[in-house]
């Protein structure tokens, strides 16, 4: 046992519980930070506070609990991948009510006050439930975010035959496919003209749309739900803005997320949408840092402020925060606002950087075949790669990301980029 790791065990001469490092939130950013701290500080006590009842898990896997393909115990984070640090104390069902940044303490619901030397706010985000949709507070209406939500959703499947998904984002699509796998009829209601509107433009999405149609997903675009119809057993239908109604026993809302910042109300921590961080992931209070969905960070190069809700970004930022907390000063390199890879139905795709080009001044190159589609976006001068969408064939996507992120001059490799033949051999032989 390391000295100072007595957190949670009250000694006679200890008047206040204390942990050198306190991390609020036990998902991607929080756990990445905790394990990174342990790499650089083998002694200091690291305590992670999670309001969830489950020990940390890989959140992106929760749709598999709905589909029944994975059990919760297959998704446990500790001990997997890079999360192998020792003596990291995770307290579940420990909701932080407030923080006193002057005295450097946090107040945990039901278990008193804890002191810290360094703190990380990694409280993440929660689903946004649009207030214009009435009647959402009833049984059978879900917004998939936690393992607990996934379990409840899986239970509801047994008494449902039709599920209506509100929102055409990636998480809702994954939930939709999980429900399809369980044999439900699934209808996706999307306000935008096409699915995945955050990650690509409507004309980029045709192959994905085709794959979704083939998979049996029903899609209604350009319409929105106005209210949820329910009775004592829960939801029985959804009313739509053009006057129609759909009967269903299950609704899943995927309308984006909002950062969990309320616990910092009344503190001097600068909040502008989320917690504003500097280049070193520090926020405006002393010895306090922020990472993940809750943090406002910046794009590389331009420095524009952005928030992202992506596992990969959260891990990267959490690792950077962990180093800074352990005294290894490290600048965060910033992140692309869009950075997604996945597979929808049988169609793999990658979307990164600038992908929305309509009415904007970019040089855009598109190429489509029966099974593949790509769009590469250059700056107006055509000298730098700004973004890319690859559907069907995502070969070497990582190298394109490297070129985008590094803002490399591309004139001499542009042909390869447009033909999707760029490979690392071009780097090794000095072509770029």
């Amino acid at each position: 046992m390391y000295p100072g790791s007595c957190f949670g065990r009250k000694g006679d001469n200890v008047t206040e519980e204390k942990s050198k490092y306190i991390i609020v939130g036990a998902s991607a950013a929080g756990m990445a930070a905790a394990h990174t701290i342990r790499l650089h500080d083998r002694q200091g006590s690291v305590t992670v506070l999670s309001e969830e009842p489950d020990t940390p898990y890989f959140r992106p896997l929760i749709p598999f609990v709905v589909s029944g393909k994975k059990r919760a115990e297959d998704m446990v984070l500790s001990g997997c991948g890079p999360y192998t640090g020792r003596d990291i104390f995770v307290r579940t069902e420990a909701r932080v009510e407030s923080v006193n940044t002057a005295e450097k303490t946090v107040s945990v619901q039901g278990s008193g006050v804890l002191a810290y030397e360094k703190i990380l706010f990694a409280t993440g985000s929660r689903p946004y439930i649009p207030p214009e949709i009435k009647g959402t507070d009833t049984k059978g209406v879900f917004a998939l975010r936690t393992l607990a939500h996934a379990r409840n959703m899986a239970k509801r499947v047994k008494t449902s035959d039709h599920a209506v998904m509100l929102g055409g984002g990636l998480l809702n699509l994954k939930a939709a496919f999980a429900l399809l796998e369980r044999g439900l009829k699934v209808t996706l209601v999307v306000y935008s003209p096409e699915v995945l509107s955050q990650l690509m433009e409507p004309e980029d999405a045709f192959l994905i749309r085709k794959a979704m149609d083939t998979a049996g997903l029903k899609i209604k675009t350009g319409c929105a739900a106005t209210h949820i119809i329910s009775e004592h057993t829960g939801v029985t239908g959804v009313a739509l803005d053009h006057g129609g109604e759909m009967s269903c026993r299950m609704v899943c809302i995927g309308k984006g997320v909002r950062p969990n910042v309320e616990f910092l109300n009344g503190t001097n921590v600068w909040i502008d949408g989320g917690i504003v961080t500097d280049r070193y992931t520090a926020c405006s209070a002393p010895d306090a840092f922020a990472a993940g969905d809750v943090a406002v960070t910046f794009k590389p190069g331009s420095g524009d402020r952005i928030m992202t809700a992506l596992w990969t970004n959260a891990v990267e930022m959490g690792r950077c925060a962990g180093r800074n907390m352990a005294g290894v000063k490290t600048a965060y390199s910033g992140t692309l606002g869009i950075l997604n890879a996945t597979q929808v139905a049988e169609e793999p795709f990658v979307s990164m950087g600038v992908v929305h080009t309509k009415d904007r001044d970019f040089e855009v190159y598109r190429h489509a075949t029966d099974t593949t589609y790509r769009k590469v976006v250059f700056n107006p001068q055509g000298t730098r790669l700004m973004g890319a969408v690859f559907i069907g064939d995502i070969t070497n996507a990582g190298l394109y990301r490297y070129v985008i992120r590094g803002k490399m001059p591309v004139m001499h490799i542009k042909r390869y980029i447009m033909d999707h033949t760029l490979h690392y051999g071009h780097v090794m032989t000095g072509k770029m």
Binding site: L61, D74, V315, A341, M352, N396, L399, R401, Y402, Y424
Partner: protein, 168 residues
């Protein structure tokens, strides 16, 4: 612990014969023989790639098992870890085929196994003393060595070249 060996690439020696890719696929087949491998379904996959760079460059590319492996940190399912020999391993059971690793690997050496819907990569041939690609390379373009030993040989070579140049 002795320093682990790595696969080094001498691009100037590669003639693009693709012996490495065949040996790799065979090593990762069920039968582990060439004739067995070509008749297997799914077709065994090579984890080493030889890229062509015009006008006549050939560049073998293989997983670097990066010290700060982006794929391992980006993986959203905990499928990628590093073993005690420093080899970055993809656990096929845990892999969900989301391709996040493909999106972050700059070398482009993580393959997509379409039949199994899993990512695959170089595992440095755990059952062999020398990886199959290195054994198969007829020109010495692939070298299996420790960093210290390999760099010492490079220094040695350069020193000899310099001396030769000085002496005319």
């Amino acid at each position: 612990m002795s320093q682990p060996k790595e696969i080094f690439v001498k691009t100037h020696r590669c003639v693009g014969c693709l012996s490495c890719t065949i040996a790799c696929a065979v090593e990762h087949s069920k039968s582990k023989t060439l004739f067995g491998a070509i008749s297997e379904t799914p077709v065994p996959k090579s984890r080493v790639y030889v890229q062509w760079v015009e006008p006549d460059g050939k560049v073998p590319l293989v997983c670097r098992h990066c010290e700060d492996a982006p794929c391992m940190y980006a993986c959203i399912s905990g499928a990628i870890s590093r073993d005690e020999n420093g080899v970055v391993i993809t656990d096929t059971d845990k892999c969900i085929g989301c391709w996040t690793c493909v999106m972050v690997c700059p070398y482009g050496v993580i393959g997509r196994h379409l039949e199994e819907h899993k990512a695959y990569r170089c595992d440095r041939c755990p059952d062999r003393e020398i990886p199959a690609c290195v054994s198969a390379c007829p020109t010495g373009a692939l070298v299996y060595d420790t960093v210290d030993s390999f760099s010492a040989k490079v220094r040695n070579h350069v020193s000899r070249e310099l001396l030769r140049a000085e002496r005319g």
